[in-house]
């Protein structure tokens, strides 16, 4: 019934001569929290700006961005409830400074922002949310990861084989690679734990996508 109602309403809105355009709408909700289509598009634009890529506003891209925003919301909610020490606005400003540093001048930087249709505070907000998500992962999941010598040996064997396939000579020894391998495995497992936690968190909350926003 809802789908038909919305279809009728949208059809009415799109009648010739009506010339109306949707300026914003709900894209997805997490319980009572709204993620609007404007949030999704802003996210994609900021991400494209940081990646120096064209903005992709296809339905699939918007859906992926909406999913990422849902995850980010869940992470930030949990971090606030857990009372972890989160990065501050000043921390985000330092990151923003790095981003600006890539551009030869302030004018070039502002031109790029205008080109992507975003504002500097959008970038700063994006970086702040991202760094909070990273901090949460570090504090919540990384301490739980335990890497044994067997895990390291198995990982070394795997990567050394790949190295040999791509290079001639002898790969670096296990001891030389230990530090990097430990970091690699820790990152992998922390990410796996985050994935599992997100899956559970999504199931516990009511996450509803509005298909009209992803057409």
């Amino acid at each position: 019934m809802r789908t038909s109602t919305l279809a009728i309403l949208c059809a009415c809105a799109c009648l010739p001569g009506f010339a109306a355009e949707v300026i914003d709408r709900i894209a997805v909700t997490v319980d009572k929290q709204v993620i609007a289509e404007s949030d999704v598009i802003r996210y994609l634009r900021v991400a494209a700006f940081l990646d120096r890529k064209p903005v992709d506003l296809s339905g699939a891209s918007k859906r992926a961005a909406a999913a990422a925003l849902v995850d980010r919301y869940l992470i930030i909610q949990e971090s606030e409830d857990s009372h972890f020490a989160m990065p501050s606005v000043d921390d985000a400003a330092a990151l923003l400074k790095q981003v600006k540093g890539q551009y030869p001048s302030e004018a070039a930087y502002q031109a790029a922002l205008k080109e992507y249709g975003i504002r500097e505070e959008d970038v700063a907000r994006h970086l702040l949310d991202g760094s909070r998500a990273l901090r949460f992962t570090d504090l919540r999941f990384r301490p739980e990861v335990q890497i044994s010598d067997q895990d390291l040996a198995a990982a070394y064997d795997k990567y050394a084989a790949q190295w040999r396939a791509a290079h001639s000579g002898t790969p670096p020894s296990l001891e030389d690679s230990r530090s990097d391998l430990e970091k690699l495995l820790t990152d992998q497992r922390a990410t796996q734990a985050l994935d599992q936690w997100l899956e559970t968190a999504r199931q516990k909350r009511s996450v509803q996508y509005r298909e009209a926003a992803f057409q």
């Binding site: 809105a13 990422a68 991202g130 050394a160 985050l194």
Partner: protein
């Protein structure tokens, strides 16, 4: 380092990046974005074509319209689920203001937060130089009730409704319907309704966004058992277990062919019965489990398969003391739990210790051993060392100054020895600890935070070994006082009111118990005024003096919510106005949960609803005003009751003969039946017919009751009609036809008034009269009485069925007059006063005085039917029922009187345990010929003297039951009346040839009834 070239970086930007970035597959996009952001500083400038797709020209657009003036705002659909004022406020967009996309985004948030919307889109179109906005919304719907038709109980409608998991007032989503339907089918099948068909539909109502859910069930034929499959180690054949389980048909203990229907409850109770049977012989650990329940579709039968696992025989030995088998089953939890483990054995040990301590063996030691002499035989041996048997003879309270000793003693469970009830007293270390804690709680609740209680035992009290005395030494310490109280977060008007009802006021004792009570008081106050999310917190700081405290209460009332509307659903026959009058919620007023509960109670009080559900629609929504839902299930409109009973009393003797005027012991069986029609005409009224048939009385009564008359909780109206054919007075048989109308008014909690008009016609067949022919013309004329009367009842008893303290007063006045339809004019007055006083902890002194007077106006004789007949279990136990007062000088049968005066005094005390009590009583009084004849003289002067107060003394036993105590009284009355009886036939009486003989009321009378005497 391997970092240099182990596989390529996914985004291809940094070949020499650290190894940790290479293989991290983050599904969380924020992490990737951030990782990319960190990678950027080392990156080359972006290629120009990277931004080939212009970013700003894709919906949602509006950038080009931003800043234009809003010329119109159109909600679509026009009728929104919010009040217009709230919709406008939350939207926050105004005609004439420039369009801001940030404001639009905020408007979506604010509207969605109300919970009333499923989807919101904002559209814009140019309109001249401005812009027109359309707020396109899709509403949420909320469960307004789950109606289930066609169900065959069991499962009951309520069970099915619970199984659906569709909660009243909750957000409705269509995805919930399929699981709900499956859950209902599961419940139906569990109750043998395998062929049940179910359909459902949802009625959406757009006005209040209601989703009314209707399930229609065709239950089909309930499946029957057809046998039992057994596995494991069964010791009995399936057929016998079928009977044990109650799955085979039978009438009481008579087996019948065939099997019973399957219900969930019958299946489970059957398994339990089988388990109990296999556990007999102390096989406590034997158990029975249902392996499966095979349904045979072709025959609509089910066959349960049970796994019977026998356990070893358990032998329990008590060494060193004797405990009966029944008591042992109460004390050892393994019998109830049907399992043996260490924790249960320890619990049994503790129970045994407490049991022997309750018997006076305060130093009892119990240990246990477990052994297994054979694989299928376990032995648990409890060794008991009881020690010296003591008697708690004294409890000493010392050191108390703030509370007097009786106040402290009231809190003690320990009890010194008393005759019969506690021959050894009540004492155990656990009771001592409980009593110590109770005293500490008492003191700490009154500001004595440093109070201490030390206990000491002396089992050689006054030099007598075994006599135990317990001393409780109280060290009160200083009393802490509240110096100041600051309340933050409340309005000044609320502050003044709250301070008038709080306990923790300056100058009062400081205690956390008082603060807890204050917290409840404050929160209830706010909850009742629509602040559903009010919170309370408190802190304390040292006051100016060492024992003073400054309190700081912090209240956060939160948002106030109001009633938007009240929706009542589920009515089929009951008039909506009847329900509306009982709901005390008014739109726009604060939403009070207390008022919702009161309304719910009033609806239950109507007696026509089996279930009254209440809910707030979308309770988590952020709306200012809420819709309150009432979903009502009407009870069955017809109820039938039937009962059989018997009366055993001095009610015997010939109906037409003159023997035994004082009655002989006889047995009178009785059968009662009644039919009631509830919710008559949908008005909440009740029509009922009640019949009684016995050897003493035949009666048919019709009653029409209108409770809560015209919606007023304190008024009720009752019409009643009665036909009664009675011979409960030995002197005559009466045929009574009576009608009455009564208006009841509850003035206050304790005070009631009843206004009544009664008209009745009573005829007495001449051949049933057992009085002197000379008196027949006076008393036996057909009587018609039209009476207007009023009763005032003042009831301050603590428990009407078994009062311990308080009082009861009743006044009943009436006038029978020819203008009211009466053949005889008279005035009538009946007064009653009862008082109840506690003596000590658990004795009650109860007394009651009753006085009645009928005055025939103009010297009119009062006919038999209107005279007072009394005596018996509730007036004076010296007499059998209705045997007090003047008697016919020739036949000795009671004539009744126009006045009575009775006084009863009872000393009620506990006898055995908590449920058996005793009574010593004294009754005095009589029925008198007239008010002038009332006398307190208590000796019968001669055989025709009935103007004296008859005394009776006696003892009684009371057994407490949920409906009041069962009463047995034995009375002794040395001055019970003597009188002349008549030996002969009615003809001999008429011609005066019979013989007068001396008779008397037996000195001893026995009364058995339900409820206290008064």
């Amino acid at each position: 380092m391997v970092a240099a070239s182990i596989p390529p970086v996914p985004c291809g930007r940094r070949a020499n990046t650290a190894i940790s970035l290479v293989y991290v597959r983050s599904v969380a996009l924020p992490l990737l974005i951030l990782v990319c952001a960190f990678a950027l500083p080392a990156q080359d400038p972006p290629p120009a074509q990277a931004q080939a797709a212009p970013p700003g020209d894709t919906n949602p657009g509006g950038a080009d319209l931003e800043g234009r003036a809003i010329v119109n705002i159109v909600p679509v659909p026009e009728q929104q689920p919010l009040l217009q004022s709230e919709f406008d406020r939350r939207l926050g967009l105004h005609i004439g203001a420039p369009l801001s996309l940030a404001d639009v985004r905020a408007a979506i948030d604010a509207l969605y937060a109300t919970g009333r919307y499923h989807d919101i889109a904002v559209e814009a179109s140019p309109s001249g130089a401005g812009v027109e906005l359309r707020i396109v919304t899709e509403f949420n719907y909320f469960v307004s009730g789950v109606t289930i038709d066609g169900a065959a109980d069991p499962p009951s409608r309520e069970q099915l409704r619970t199984a659906s998991k569709l909660e009243l007032g909750a957000l409705f989503t269509e995805s919930e319907m399929e699981p709900a339907a499956l859950s209902l089918l599961e419940r139906l099948r569990a109750n043998g309704l395998y062929g049940a068909q179910l359909s459902y539909h949802v009625d959406f109502s757009s006005g209040d966004e209601e989703a009314g859910i209707y399930f229609r069930i065709s239950p089909g034929v309930r499946a029957r058992f057809d046998g039992i499959n057994l596995s494991g180690t069964p010791t009995q054949p399936p057929d016998k277990l079928g009977r044990i389980a109650g799955w085979r048909r039978g009438l009481l203990y008579i087996p019948l062919p065939g099997w019973r229907e399957l219900t969930e409850q019958r299946l489970q109770s059957g398994i339990n019965k089988i388990e109990s049977s296999v556990q007999k012989g102390n096989h406590l650990e034997a158990h029975v489990t249902l392996e499966n329940l095979n349904y045979h579709r072709d025959t609509n039968r089910v066959t349960p398969t049970l796994l019977v696992a026998g356990g070893p025989e358990l032998e329990v030995d008590i060494l060193g003391a004797k405990v009966s088998a029944g008591r042992l089953r109460q004390l050892l939890p393994m019998y109830e739990e049907r399992a043996v483990d260490n924790s249960l054995l320890l619990e049994g040990q503790r129970n045994l210790i407490e049991y022997f301590q309750s018997q006076g063996y305060y130093d009892t030691q119990v240990s246990f051993e477990q052994s297994q002499p054979a694989p299928d035989h376990s032995v648990i041996a409890y060794s008991v060392e009881r020690g010296l048997r003591s008697k708690l003879v004294n409890i000493e309270i010392a050191g108390n100054r703030y509370f007097d000793t009786p106040t402290v003693r009231e809190r003690l469970l320990m009890t010194p020895a008393r005759f019969i009830r506690y021959p050894q007293g009540r004492f155990s270390p656990r009771l001592l600890q409980q009593d110590t804690n109770a005293i500490l709680d008492l003191y700490r609740a009154n500001g004595f935070h440093d109070a201490q209680v030390a206990s000491a035992k002396n089992d050689d009290y006054k030099g007598k070994r075994g006599d135990l005395s317990v001393t409780l030494e109280i060290m009160e310490g200083p009393q802490w006082i509240v110096h100041s109280l600051a309340i933050e977060g409340v309005l000044p008007t609320d502050d003044a009111y709250l301070r008038s009802i709080l306990r923790s006021m300056p100058g009062e004792p400081y205690s956390e118990a008082s603060i807890g009570a204050d917290r409840d008081t404050i929160l209830n106050y706010y909850f009742n005024h629509g602040f559903q999310n009010a919170t309370f917190d408190w802190t304390q700081s040292a006051g100016p003096l060492a024992t003073q405290v400054d309190l700081h209460f912090v209240v956060q009332p939160g948002k106030q919510e109001f009633v938007r509307n009240v929706l009542v659903r589920g009515l089929e026959h009951t008039r909506a106005s009847l329900v509306a009058e009982r709901i005390n919620l008014v739109p726009k007023e604060p939403l009070s949960t207390v008022r919702i509960s009161e309304s719910q109670q009033r609806l239950y009080d109507l007696g026509v609803f089996s279930k009254v559900q209440t809910a707030i629609q979308d309770p988590d929504g952020d709306e200012d005003s809420k819709i309150v839902l009432f979903h009502l299930d009407e009870a069955s409109r017809y109820s039938f009751n039937a009962g059989v009973g018997a009366e055993l009393a001095r009610i015997g003797g010939g109906v037409t003969t003159f023997d035994a005027p004082a009655g002989t012991t006889a047995f009178s069986p009785r059968v009662t039946a009644g039919l009631s029609r509830l919710d008559f005409l949908g008005l909440g009224h009740t029509v009922s017919v009640q019949t009684l048939v016995s050897t003493l009385e035949d009666r048919v009564g019709v009653t029409y009751q209108a409770p809560q008359l015209a919606g007023r909780q304190n008024l009720s109206l009752t019409f009643s009609g009665l036909f009664d054919d009675s011979s409960d007075v030995r002197t005559f048989t009466s045929h009574r036809l009576e009608g009455s109308i009564e208006l009841g008014q509850k003035v206050s909690r304790a005070n009631r008034i009843q206004y009544r008009y009664t008209i009745r016609r009573v005829t007495i067949p001449m051949d049933t009269l057992k009085i002197s022919p000379l008196l027949i013309p006076i008393f036996s004329a057909p009587d018609r009485a039209g009476i207007i009367s009023m009763s005032y009842i003042q009831d301050h008893r603590d428990d009407p069925t078994d009062s311990k303290q308080g009082y009861l007063n009743t006044v009943d006045v009436g006038v029978a007059w020819k203008y009211f339809g009466s053949a005889t004019d008279y005035r009538r007055l009946v007064l009653h006063n009862s008082t109840y006083h506690r003596i000590g902890h658990d004795m009650v002194l109860a007394r009651s005085t009753q006085f009645g007077w009928i005055d025939g106006m103009g010297g009119a004789a009062i006919p038999f039917a209107e005279r007072f007949f009394a005596g018996g279990a509730s007036t004076n136990r010296a007499f059998p029922d209705n045997q007090a007062g003047p008697r016919d000088p020739e036949t000795g049968f009671p004539l009744g009187g126009t006045a009575f005066l009775f006084n009863n005094t009872e000393l009620r005390f506990p006898l055995f345990g908590d449920n058996v009590g005793g009574v010593l009583f004294h009754d005095i009084g009589n029925v008198y010929q007239d008010v002038d004849a009332i006398s307190l003289h208590f000796n019968q002067r001669n055989i025709q003297d009935f103007k004296y107060a008859v005394n009776s003394f006696g003892i009684g036993i009371r057994y407490r039951t949920p409906i009041g105590p069962i009463r047995i009284d034995l009375s002794l009355s040395p001055d019970a009346p003597r009188f002349f009886g008549f030996s002969g036939t009615r003809d001999q009486l008429l011609d005066g040839t019979g013989k007068l003989i001396n008779q008397n009321i037996n000195w001893f009378q026995f009364h058995f009834s339900l409820g206290q005497t008064f």
